[in-house]
């Protein structure tokens, strides 16, 4: 690895890196707008100018690559002066409308000014005015006056969805982002332009003006919109989810996520099951648990069917499977979904709209055909996080063939409407757990918010049911479930929440032989 010197500090950095990335590894920030690791070098913002020993003119760090012995100045007086100068140029025609700008608080122009600017204003001339509040597409709004013209959004549309809707029109200080006539920014990845935009020029129609970003807390999570499992930050405040933003994972989603996935957070807020229902009437949790325990105790295990779902976490699936087998002695346990396939493309989106079908398969629970099991009927059918009837209403008479329909549900749906016992459980925003994506990568999501109402996770709910039946069952935490799962399920061996980490871990059979022990990836 080449050794370079940043402000006389020796650092060893991997070959092929540009100086922005190299400095970042050394913990030094070289401010920049236009460069983005997912979009490459464009060299237009000029904010990353640094000095190189032996080179007379300042050079842009983004287009200078490490080589042995390179000596750069990233904080010399000249470099600081240039940064202040370039920031001053940016502000020349910037409206400075931070108080009403939705980007405030996560704006790189603000951040860089605070860290590298801090000059006295010399601006005493009228500003150039440009278009404001332009709907460049159904999900993205443009304010051309705030734009720093870094062209990240233009390059994103050219390079990733390859739809090329955006361009910079006009010249000089009249330059502004625009869409091609009759071709709005509506590609299925359009909201990534909002993340990429370093300032408040592109904002999300969905998120803008909903919440000041400094009120938001952020949790590392996974998008549950399809089998890809894009790594995301789930951002929330006071129990409400506000948005999802992609979290870098080069093996899964790189830097991006799709627009549909981004809007899946709404389901975490809306139509939630918060209280237990007995016969459609709100009840208390202990009462509902006792009711279910009573039904289960009085039923022949062969007459009990568990219908799990690929929306459940691996932990919930494992807990439900074990509950059925050990606490009840039931053998009829399947996981199924009748969701129609979504659109698949070569970028991120997968047709399978479930986040954890692979997890169901690994636990031997997946069933493509539910009809036979339902046709057998019985005393109890327990549907866990499965909105079966919303996707397959024709199965309603089959469910009616059971004496009691039980739903453990996150959201109200046709299944909960058909159930006589409903227990609220937590979606992935309110508990810790893992999903296994289509690649066979087990990925962690972290609890973002406290559970709503009486909702609790599936394992805990079932532990309480078992306790009400006088049976020992359950675990105290995620690590305990994992210790057991990893020991019992071969594909999960060597895994633990810690080993899975934030970048996920492949199933054992997919890992290179040398990595089949316990170390995580990433």
């Amino acid at each position: 690895m080449p050794r370079i010197y940043i402000d006389d500090r020796e650092v060893e950095v991997p070959d092929g890196l540009n100086l922005i990335e190299a400095a970042k590894l050394a913990g030094i920030e070289i401010p920049h707008f236009c460069y983005h690791p997912g979009l490459g070098v464009d060299g237009n913002c000029r904010l990353c100018l640094i000095e190189i020993d032996g080179v007379p003119k300042p050079q842009i760090a983004c287009n200078t690559f490490v080589k042995e012995g390179l000596r750069i100045r990233a904080s010399s007086e000249r470099v600081k002066e240039l940064r202040r100068a370039v920031l001053e140029f940016f502000f020349l025609n910037h409206p400075l409308d931070c108080p009403i700008c939705d980007q405030s608080g996560e704006c790189l122009l603000q951040d860089f000014y605070m860290r590298h600017g801090q000059y006295e204003s010399r601006l005493d001339l009228p500003k150039v005015h440009k278009r404001k509040v332009v709907d460049v597409g159904p999900r993205v709004v443009l304010d051309a006056e705030r734009c720093v013209l870094c062209a990240r959004c233009v390059r994103f549309c050219d390079q990733v969805p390859k739809t090329g809707e955006l361009r910079i029109a006009n010249r000089g200080n009249h330059s502004e982002i625009t869409v091609h006539p009759d071709k709005p920014l509506e590609n299925p990845y359009s909201l990534n332009t909002v993340d990429l935009c370093p300032v408040g020029a592109l904002t999300s129609t969905d998120f803008r003006f909903k919440c000041r970003v400094w009120f938001l807390s952020s949790a590392r999570s996974i998008c549950a919109g399809c089998a890809r499992g894009c790594n995301v930050y789930l951002e929330h405040n006071a129990g409400e989810a506000y948005r999802l933003r992609p979290r870098e994972n080069m093996d899964v989603n790189t830097y991006w996520m799709c627009d549909d996935g981004r809007l899946t957070y709404k389901r975490l807020n809306d139509g939630r099951c918060e209280a237990p229902l007995l016969g459609g009437v709100e009840s208390t949790h202990p009462q509902a648990v006792a009711e279910l325990a009573g039904k289960l105790s009085g039923a022949d295990p062969e007459s009990i069917l568990f219908v799990l779902s690929p929306e459940m976490s691996n932990e919930s699936l494992y807990a439900a499977r074990k509950f059925a087998a050990q606490a009840i002695g039931a053998r009829r346990v399947v996981a199924a979904s009748r969701k129609l396939p979504g659109i698949e493309d070569e970028i991120l989106r997968k047709a399978d709209a479930n986040p954890n079908r692979r997890g169901c398969e690994v636990l031997g629970l997946w069933s493509d055909d539910l009809t036979d099991e339902l046709a057998r009927g019985g005393k109890l059918v327990i549907l866990v996080q499965n909105d079966l009837l919303d996707h397959a209403p024709e199965l309603a008479p089959r469910l009616a063939g059971f004496e009691t329909v039980v739903a453990l549900a996150t959201n109200h749906c046709k299944t909960t409407a058909a159930a006589s016992i409903v227990l609220p459980v937590t979606p992935h925003s309110e508990c810790d757990g893992t999903f296994t994506n289509f690649q066979g990568r087990v990925q962690r999501f972290r609890r973002a918010m406290t559970p709503r109402g009486d909702a609790m996770n599936v394992a805990e709910t079932l532990r309480r049911v078992a306790a009400a039946m006088g049976r020992e069952f359950g675990w105290v935490n995620l690590n305990e479930i994992w210790r057991e799962m990893a020991a019992e399920v071969e594909e999960l061996s060597g895994m633990s929440p810690e080993a899975i980490g934030d970048q996920g871990m492949l199933l054992r059979s997919l890992r290179p032989a040398k990595d089949r022990s316990t170390e995580g990836e990433g």
Partner: protein, 427 residues
């Protein structure tokens, strides 16, 4: 005083026709070159010391030799006929009056570098020059100087003429390439340089019209004959476009190293109406201005002008007389660069507009005492901080005007309107 190597045919009847060109020895240099080894042609041009006449003055032969011999993608020549630098109109004359010299220069250059497709990127406003070069290219095709198996050799060359759409920035070589490819004309980040990645990704030579037009003369007469003119570091002749209030403005071909005083006072007949010269911009509007005193002491070659703190540039000499307001002159220059900045790099996009506004406010008598320092500080932040040199081109005149003619700027502050133009032209 004038040495007419490239302009020798100017003024002969129908100098633009192939008949006239051939009659005066045209296309003989090509015949000679085609019998040589291509590398020997490049060597001869290197030996001549010919430097790029578009503005930067980069040695031409060296530029050619940067192009890799072997290339998977086709190699290209782009003749930069997007002459747009204010004050410069020499390429226009060459295109109008001696287009075949350009065509011949193209064939020789392409033969030397191993190129089979050349583009002439001509500015859109050039009507007559376009028609002349277009007809010259057609004539050359019909006579076998272009196309397949040129003059019975195995060398093929296609020439395409592309008309620009009116952007100064398309005269910057990579802006030109972007525009030629059908994109918005804005300079590319370098490296890679066009010699490695140019038109459609292929290695590309970009040469100015005047540079290309000098190639046949050099091959025809030899590098040594070319070096007889000019100075050691600036060999040969250069076309100067002289504009402003001189008695005989126009295009003059002079040996490099000629005193500026001779060009202005003798060839151009001095300042009209017996007025005095106040200032001189020797190389096109983007180079630092000289005071009359500096100008009258300088020689017109790359090194002398550099030593005087300015540049030879494109040889677009703008003469400024004693009646002209320097603030007004600078305002015109800054309006141009603010209009022509492609807007890609921040210091240029914002800096050009800022300078324009500040200078216009001063010219209109609305400036404040701190404006001059502000202008100087802005120019410092614009020079050397961008992808191309348009930013420098806007900053250098501003810095030099304000520094050298400070009292004129000071006299505008608080004057309510331009004090100089009120006195001279009554506005």
């Amino acid at each position: 005083m004038e040495v007419k190597l490239l302009t020798a045919r100017f003024g002969t009847p129908e100098s633009w026709s192939i008949a006239s060109y051939e009659k005066s020895g045209g296309y003989q240099a090509l015949r000679k070159a085609l019998r040589m080894d291509p590398d020997a042609v490049t060597e001869e041009v290197k030996k001549s010391g010919l430097r790029g006449r578009g503005g930067a003055g980069f040695p031409t032969g060296m530029k050619w030799s940067f192009v890799p011999k072997e290339s998977k993608l086709p190699k290209y020549l782009c003749v930069n006929a997007d002459e747009s630098e204010p004050g410069t109109f020499k390429d226009r004359y060459l295109l109008e009056l001696d287009p075949h010299a350009i065509v011949e220069g193209i064939v020789i250059t392409c033969f030397a570098v191993g190129i089979h497709h050349a583009y002439i990127y001509i500015r859109g406003e050039f009507g007559l020059p376009y028609r002349r070069i277009q007809s010259a290219v057609e004539e050359a095709y019909s006579k076998g100087y272009l196309g397949k198996a040129i003059l019975g050799t195995g060398f093929d060359l296609e020439v395409t003429i592309h008309r620009g759409a009116g952007a100064y920035i398309c005269g910057e070589e990579t802006g030109l390439i972007e525009s030629l490819e059908g994109k918005k004309g804005q300079p590319r980040i370098k490296p890679p340089f066009p010699a490695v990645v140019g038109v459609f990704g292929g290695p590309t030579v970009v040469n100015n019209v005047e540079t290309i037009a000098a190639v046949p003369w050099i091959l025809g007469h030899g590098a040594d004959a070319y070096r007889k003119h000019g100075t050691e570091k600036s060999p040969g002749t250069k076309l100067f476009s002289v504009s402003g209030p001189v008695v005989r403005p126009g295009v003059y071909e002079i040996p490099l190293g000629l005193p500026l005083r001779s060009l202005v006072n003798d060839l151009c007949g001095g300042i009209r109406g017996g007025k005095r010269m106040k200032a001189n911009i020797p190389g096109g509007s983007s180079v630092p201005v000289l005071t009359a005193e500096e100008a009258l002491a300088v020689n017109l070659d790359y090194e002398s002008l550099a030593a005087a703190g300015t540049m030879l540039g494109s040889g677009g000499m703008i003469v400024i007389d004693e009646d002209t307001c320097m603030v007004w002159a600078l305002m015109i220059i800054e309006k141009f660069y603010a209009h022509e900045s492609c807007g890609q790099c921040t210091p240029c996009r914002e800096g050009t507009g800022w300078l324009k506004q500040l200078v216009a406010r001063l010219e209109n008598g609305g400036g404040s005492p701190g404006d001059m320092e502000k202008i100087l500080s802005i120019t410092r932040n614009m020079i050397g901080t961008t992808i191309c040199v348009l930013s420098d081109a806007a900053a250098m005149p501003a810095a030099s005007f304000v520094t050298k003619f400070r009292s004129e700027f000071d006299s505008h502050v608080g004057a309510g309107r331009c004090p100089i133009r009120r006195a001279t032209v009554g506005v």
